[in-house]
């Protein structure tokens, strides 16, 4: 019986993230538009885009290989799996222990790996730009991520998200310098990973400034749709990651009642909204930076992460 419910919850989680992801992006876009005194697209615009893309035929470059056509599915699968393993409204998901925080980061890493390959596959110069810059950014973002994981893992004595979340809910953690640093670092990493301002501009198609968009330049139709969807998923994933680590309130425990689950869901949606809002505010308030200032930005994140880890010892030893 318990297994059934667990299975159900797990499935629900997967569906929820899949369904909410475009909405979150749409919400961010709309709020940004409003802050810029624009009407902006309706909230459901992303869904429409996806549907439209699905309907369109695929225009495939002649030099594209079979890999080029497989990659969207790979990326989507990896991202979706990652997203569905992050506790959103309930900890202790059935399969959450099949991949801990490190594994989740690594899953996103493999998604990026294949995306970068896709950028190179057609053999155009812009794809090359995109991939090379993407891997450069990643080469700094991921270590920062790992350092954040260290901080949390050392604190919680575990790399399991559920365990961490439960620990965070529990009183006695209190405010810690290193947690603050970790939060800031995580946000910076999240911005970089999701190609948001100031690292990259998701809206632009100015060739020389774009990174993520350049890689997917050659994609069209359903392939593009999948990639877009996984981008949405990724954003959602990071927001819910931050939420479940630093704002784990309202998350239902394992074997909680349906009421608690409902609460959890509501709280989760609320967190998403908050996160989206903050992101929008942030993005509208600052400008994009030059590509070669990105390393400094991420280097700072890495340093923060390392600092957080080390401070942990000190504050522990106090």
């Amino acid at each position: 019986m318990a297994l059934i419910t667990d299975l159900f919850v797990q499935g629900a989680q997967m569906l929820i993230v899949l369904l909410l992801a475009p909405l979150l992006t749409g919400f961010v876009r709309t709020t940004k538009a409003r802050m810029m005194r624009r009407r902006g697209p309706p909230l459901v615009q992303p869904y429409r885009d996806l549907v439209r893309l699905m309907r369109k035929e695929v225009v495939l470059a002649e030099s594209a290989s079979w890999l080029f056509r497989v990659i969207p599915y790979l990326i989507f699968a990896a991202t979706w799996v990652a997203a569905s393993l992050v506790p959103t409204f309930r900890t202790g998901l059935l399969f959450s222990w099949s991949a801990d925080l490190i594994a989740i980061a690594a899953l996103l890493g493999s998604a990026r790996f294949f995306l970068a390959l896709a950028g190179l596959d057609v053999g155009t110069s812009f794809g090359g730009i995109g991939s090379s810059r993407e891997v450069m950014i990643a080469s700094l973002a991921e270590p920062a991520m790992i350092m954040i994981v260290f901080t949390l893992a050392l604190l919680a004595g575990s790399t399991q998200l559920s365990t961490i979340a439960e620990l965070m809910v529990a009183p006695g953690v209190g405010l810690r310098v290193s947690l603050g640093l970790a939060l800031i670092a995580l946000i910076m990493v999240a911005l970089a990973e999701n190609a948001r301002i100031p690292v990259d501009n998701p809206a632009t198609h100015l060739e020389l400034t774009m990174v993520h968009e350049a890689m997917v330049l050659e994609y069209s139709g359903r392939h593009l749709a999948l990639i877009e969807l996984s981008t949405f998923l990724k954003l959602l994933l990071y927001v819910s990651l931050i939420a479940c680590i630093f704002a784990p309130w309202g998350v239902a425990e394992q074997g909680a009642t349906s009421a608690a689950l409902a609460v959890g869901i509501v709280a989760y949606v609320g967190k998403l909204a908050g996160g989206g809002l903050l992101l929008a505010v942030f993005e509208t308030s600052i400008a994009k930076m030059r590509v070669f200032r990105v390393p400094e930005f991420l280097g700072a994140a890495l340093m923060l992460g390392l600092l957080a880890t080390l401070l942990l010892f000190v504050s522990r030893s106090l």
Binding site: S63, A99, A106, L120, G128, V135, S158, P295
Partner: protein, 668 residues
């Protein structure tokens, strides 16, 4: 079992002899490689049985070598594990070579040495006394040296061979000193005696440093790695695979054997040394690799990086062992040994791929390749698996061992010593950095070599490689996947070796539900490759299914859009060096003092703009060139003594006489 493997070694030597005779005949290479394959499989089976059967160590003593000691051979869990690694590599390499060897222009320079090389590596792992260990060790170096010189008409290869043999004998001498130290003045060279003689702290420390020098120079620890990226690519590809995938592991074996088995209890600071070196090796190795555009050399540098990862595991093992945290030591060692196994798999796979590309196009330089995925899809597929595995992407095997290493690192805060508390997370950061850089590097390697459009006619005309080679590559790819999704089984398999080294073992994995791995405790951390794999497959298939049901599956081929630029010629693609340029800007300028200057044609001139990149190898220019200069200087100075007159020589004799008489006169 020991006897079986020894017999195999002898048979290999006979094969080597036979190769001289039949090497020229067309069937020769097939016979030799087939025979090697057979023998490798036999000893592989033997090793596996011993390892899985948790059999007691089997010792054999032959009346060879030093007469009053004899040649001791012993197969315990550790050596059994390495036998498995070695002979798995040997078997696949031989299988690959059955096809690949046909393209060899100078078979007589490869065939005799190849089986000898295999024999050497097997015997090193079996040896149980210092003398036979070193004999086998150096024999291994010699035969591989001959293989490096197989294509000796290429000047670079001769140079590579030279650097290799000198570094190899440096390593051997270091090990020789270490053993001399441990054996004591009256020469108890048998490992059994060394184990019982508990060396003093100073002696043990010195021996550790010597072992690091000796085994490290063979394994390719920075700064002793210089020979590796020269020698490994120079050899024929199946030999490169063996050298990179297997021989470096034999070096690791040497280190483990000496430090964990013979030296007794480690001191806490040993691990600091090892960890620091290992971290450096990781990052420098991968950074070097990123700067390369020769496919095989890039792979060789990645070997350096992975050796660094392995040594991080070993260093952690030392740290935990020194503080009596046996269970943690077991975890760290499991991580290290598992990475040894994994790396031998995917590095061989990648070198096979490089070899296939080499035979198909005659090119090693990635700048002249491209688009091979169209011409040789199967090779491309296996190579892609290899790239994903070495980049530590789940659900493949590379990720598992690095994940375990991270788990071991996360235990480090429980270490009492503050130095380690702070060092280990830093090393962890380096490890993470090198992992992501490796991913970047293999995006470059695969993307530039196999994706995009062909850059040269030779790449255009490539043909898919023969079926033996493909069989070997697919076998390895399958193993990579298997080790990735069922890591528990492999962890249990090497538990015996870990037990022998650390006195503990990680919990039995095969019992865990859903076949996931739980190194310490369920609540702490767990990973399930199988589930992740299934998840991805299912969701991917689901998505595909949904799309092909609901969405249109129309597809039209058209020229690449490329932001509306006309279809430019392949030269406009991103090359390896341009791909690495951002990373070069970020890291290279600091490490390699990388300088780029662009020579622009004057306005109106349609000539191409040229980009020159100048890199300085810090280790080579900082360490080895001054050394060479010093020796050359001394030689030049002393050389004057060749040209003295008889009179001056006589006065030398006279002086010697007078000095000796003075010594006598002043003798107390």
């Amino acid at each position: 079992m020991t006897v079986v493997i020894l017999v195999c070694a002898v048979c290999w030597l006979m094969l080597a002899g036979a190769a001289v005779a039949i090497g020229r005949s067309p069937a020769g290479s097939t016979i030799i490689y087939g025979g090697s394959l057979l023998l490798a499989v036999v000893s592989l089976v033997a090793g596996t049985i011993h390892l899985l059967g948790h059999a007691a160590p089997a010792a054999v003593t032959l009346p060879l070598g030093l007469p009053w000691i004899g040649a001791h051979f012993r197969l315990d869990a550790l050596s059994a594990f390495f036998i498995v690694v070695v002979d798995l590599g040997a078997a696949t390499a031989s299988l690959f070579a059955i096809g690949y060897g046909r393209h060899e222009q100078a078979p007589l320079r490869v065939l005799p040495f190849y089986p000898a090389f295999l024999a050497g590596m097997n015997v090193v792992v079996l040896a149980d006394d210092a003398f036979s260990f070193l004999v086998a060790w150096e024999f291994m170096s010699l035969s591989s040296w001959a293989l490096v010189l197989a294509h000796h008409r290429v000047p670079d290869n001769v140079r590579a061979g030279y650097v290799y043999i000198v570094m190899a004998s440096f390593g051997t001498l270091a090990l020789l000193l270490a053993f001399g130290l441990l054996a004591g003045p009256d020469g108890g060279y048998a490992f059994a005696d060394i184990r019982t003689s508990h060396p003093s702290a100073a002696v043990a420390a010195l021996a550790l440093c010597l072992a690091l020098l000796g085994a490290g120079s063979k394994a390719g620890l920075v700064p002793l790695h210089v020979w590796l990226p020269l020698a490994h690519p120079a050899a024929p590809s199946h030999v490169s695979a063996l050298m990179s995938g297997v021989m470096t592991k034999v070096a690791v074996y040497g280190f483990v054997r000496i430090v964990f088995d013979l030296l007794g209890e480690p001191a806490w600071w040993w691990s600091m040394v090892v960890l620091t070196l290992a971290g450096l090796t990781c990052v420098l190795g991968v950074l070097y690799a990123l700067m390369q555009h020769d496919l095989k050399r890039l792979l060789a540098y990645h070997t350096v990086e992975n050796i660094g990862i392995i040594f991080i595991g070993l260093g952690l093992g030392l740290a935990f062992k020194a503080h009596g945290m046996a269970w943690a030591a077991a975890l760290a060692l499991t991580a290290a040994l598992l990475h040894v196994f994994n790396h031998s798999l995917f590095k061989s796979l990648l070198f096979f791929g490089a070899g296939a590309v080499l035979t198909a196009t005659g090119e090693r330089d990635m700048e002249h390749l491209g688009g091979l995925i169209h011409r040789m899809p199967q090779t491309a597929f296996t190579f892609l698996i290899g790239c994903a595995a070495i980049s530590a992407l789940p659900p493949l095997n590379g990720f598992v061992s690095e994940w375990l290493t991270f788990q071991a690192i996360l235990v480090s805060p429980q270490l009492p010593s503050w130095g380690l508390k702070f060092l280990v997370p830093a090393v962890g950061a380096l490890l993470a950095l090198s992992a992501t850089l490796a991913a970047a590097c293999f995006v470059k390697a695969f993307g530039v070599t196999f994706l995009g459009r062909a850059r040269t006619p030779s790449a255009m005309a490539a043909q898919e490689t023969d079926r033996f080679s493909l069989a070997a590559m697919f076998l390895l790819a399958a193993l990579c996947l298997a080790a990735g999704i069922l890591p528990g089984l492999f962890i249990d398999a090497l538990a015996a070796a870990v037990q022998a080294l650390s006195g503990e073992r990680v919990p039995v994995q095969s019992g865990v539900e859903w076949l996931s791995i739980v190194p310490i405790a369920q609540s702490r951390s767990s990973y399930n490759g199988l589930l992740v794999f299934l998840f991805m497959v299912i969701s991917g298939v689901l998505a595909a299914f949904a799309i092909h049901r609901l969405a249109s599956d129309r597809l039209r081929r058209a020229p690449a859009w490329d932001c509306g630029y006309p279809d430019a010629n392949p030269a406009t693609q991103y090359t390896a060096s341009s791909f690495a340029q951002p990373i070069r800007r970020v890291f290279g300028s600091a490490v390699f003092r990388a300088r780029e200057q662009v020579t622009m044609p004057p306005p109106g001139d349609t000539g191409p703009a040229r980009l020159h990149v100048v890199l300085h190898d810090p280790v080579w220019e900082g360490l080895y060139l001054p050394l060479a200069a010093g020796i050359s200087f001394t030689a030049e100075r002393l050389n004057g003594l060749q040209f003295l007159t008889i009179l001056q020589f006589l006065s030398l004799v006279f002086a010697a006489l007078v000095i000796l008489l003075l010594v006598l006169a002043l003798w107390p």
